[in-house]
């Protein structure tokens, strides 16, 4: 057990745990935000685990999650646009803090890894993660308003 895994445990227990609770209760607008945050928090946790286990190959998992997590949120934003239009989710502060956590984790890992090809891969994952989640959050709060049918 090292510091990286401890950090991952904290992110999982506090962050992802909270999103599980958020997605299971409350109005629909809170649930979709919680779903988006669950990928935004699980991805840094996966990166931390990759570093903690000293397995650069595990970064592929975070890469796939950073790509497909926001796509999953887009699925909900698109197909629930009708339900969400009347009651759009607003969670700017939460989304930003999750994005900030993701960026912070990526930067910390970059410092730990040092200049190499792995660093570039981490940066790619970080950009996809932060950009994707901010955009998915934007899509949830009205970005799909014109796509209620079709």
């Amino acid at each position: 057990m090292n510091g990286w895994i401890l950090a991952a445990t904290a992110v999982l227990g506090a962050g992802v745990g909270a999103t599980v609770w958020g997605v299971a209760t409350g109005p629909l607008r809170r649930r979709v935000v919680a779903q988006n945050l669950s990928t935004a928090l699980a991805c840094p946790a996966l990166l931390l685990l990759a570093q903690g286990y000293d397995r650069p190959a595990y970064v592929d998992l975070a890469l796939v999650l950073a790509l497909l997590g926001p796509v999953g949120t887009l699925v909900f934003a698109r197909l629930l646009a009708g339900e969400l239009a009347g009651d759009p989710p607003r969670a700017r502060a939460l989304t930003r803090s999750a994005a900030g956590l993701g960026a912070g984790v990526v930067l910390a890992l970059c410092v730990a890894v040092g200049p190499s090809r792995a660093l570039l891969k981490l940066l790619v994952v970080g950009v996809l993660l932060v950009g994707g989640n901010l955009l998915a959050s934007r899509a949830l709060s009205g970005g799909m308003a014109g796509a209620r049918r079709g």
């Binding site: 650069p56 890469l63 090809r117 570039l120 891969k121 790619v124």
Partner: protein
């Protein structure tokens, strides 16, 4: 105008190809000739898909 359009298409695909090829090099851990060849092919497929997608969204 037709030649101009072809040129634009080639430039678009080539730009995507270069960007995606660079991304492939970031993903892989070991670089050898076979890896480069596969990467070039895959980046080509993805570049064509990128152009196809852009045209499909914009209308033909």
């Amino acid at each position: 105008m037709n030649r101009r359009r072809t040129l634009l298409a080639v430039v678009e695909v080539a730009a995507w190809w270069a960007a995606l090829g660079a991304l492939w090099l970031v993903f892989v851990t070991v670089v050898d000739p076979l890896e480069l060849a596969v990467g070039a092919g895959v980046a080509g497929v993805a570049a064509l898909a990128a152009r196809g997608a852009r045209r499909a969204v914009a209308g033909w």
